[in-house]
């Protein structure tokens, strides 16, 4: 969870159900996704401004000069 002025940024990771994914056949694991949700919290009722999902899991996050920077990772099958 990050705060940037009047914005609340929630960053998290969600897992895909195992049954929906074939580990044996895939070269890139897509079993986890990073969620990014940006809310405007300047008013009493928060408003969702942007939301994204990205394959992989979250390594770390920062806010630099009004920029959200995420480092994500995604395993390669071998």
């Amino acid at each position: 969870m990050l705060i940037n002025g009047s914005q609340l940024i929630l960053v998290g990771t969600k897992s895909q159900p195992y049954s929906q994914y074939s580990y044996e056949r895939a070269f890139v694991y897509r079993d986890q996704q990073v969620l990014i949700a940006v809310y405007d919290i300047s008013k009493a009722t928060p408003k969702l401004l942007q939301a994204y999902t990205y394959d992989g899991w979250l390594q770390d996050s920062r806010i630099v000069d009004n920029q959200l920077v995420l480092v994500t990772s995604q395993s390669l099958n071998r």
Partner: protein, 175 residues
């Protein structure tokens, strides 16, 4: 990683081509938008944003049979830097993806550094013609990948002996 997934021996000269065929070339990010409909139901729409994967950081471009069983190829992964401008309405995220593991990060106003701790179980010699780090003896090492944050481009990678204690063990000397 490619070596252990291969049932027959690879032609060493053509391995870089094989790697290019096998490795994913683009990564995709999905934008999710929600709207409250007139009926009171929330409508969810998604849109994909794709970005190329940079394979120039691939440390081992061809298989080395001597590394089989050493566990060094295990756990190789894609590392993505995702940048989203928070002060621009509707700004698209920018993504830079390289073939590398990642652990601790250090971010300054101009750069981002991603570290990868690695333990070498046996001395490693870079195979001829391969794009990888030079000889390293047995022990703990940390690979540091540097990125330019303004342009979101990969700058370089280097290897140092030892490992970082935590994210606060890093700083940037810009002089």
């Amino acid at each position: 990683m490619v070596y252990q997934n291969t049932t027959k021996s690879l032609d060493v000269k053509n391995f870089s081509l094989t790697a290019q065929e096998v490795l994913p070339r683009r990564s995709s990010l999905q934008q999710v938008t929600t709207k409250l409909g007139k009926t009171g139901k929330v409508r969810v729409a998604t849109r994909k944003i794709t970005a190329p994967i940079d394979c120039t950081t691939l440390m081992f471009k061809k298989p080395d049979p001597a590394q089989k069983g050493q566990g060094y190829y295990g756990g190789e992964s894609l590392t993505s830097i995702v940048r989203l401008a928070l002060n621009v309405a509707g700004a698209k995220p920018q993504i830079k993806t390289i073939v590398a593991n990642s652990s601790q990060i250090h971010v300054s106003k101009k750069s981002i550094y991603v570290t990868t701790p690695t333990y070498m179980w046996s001395p490693f010699i870079c195979p001829a013609d391969a794009m990888c780090m030079p000889w390293r003896g047995q022990g703990q090492y940390t690979t540091i990948y540097g990125f330019d944050l303004d342009a979101l481009v990969y700058k370089y990678a280097t290897v140092v002996a030892g490992t970082t204690w935590n994210q606060y063990s890093m700083d940037e000397n810009t002089q």
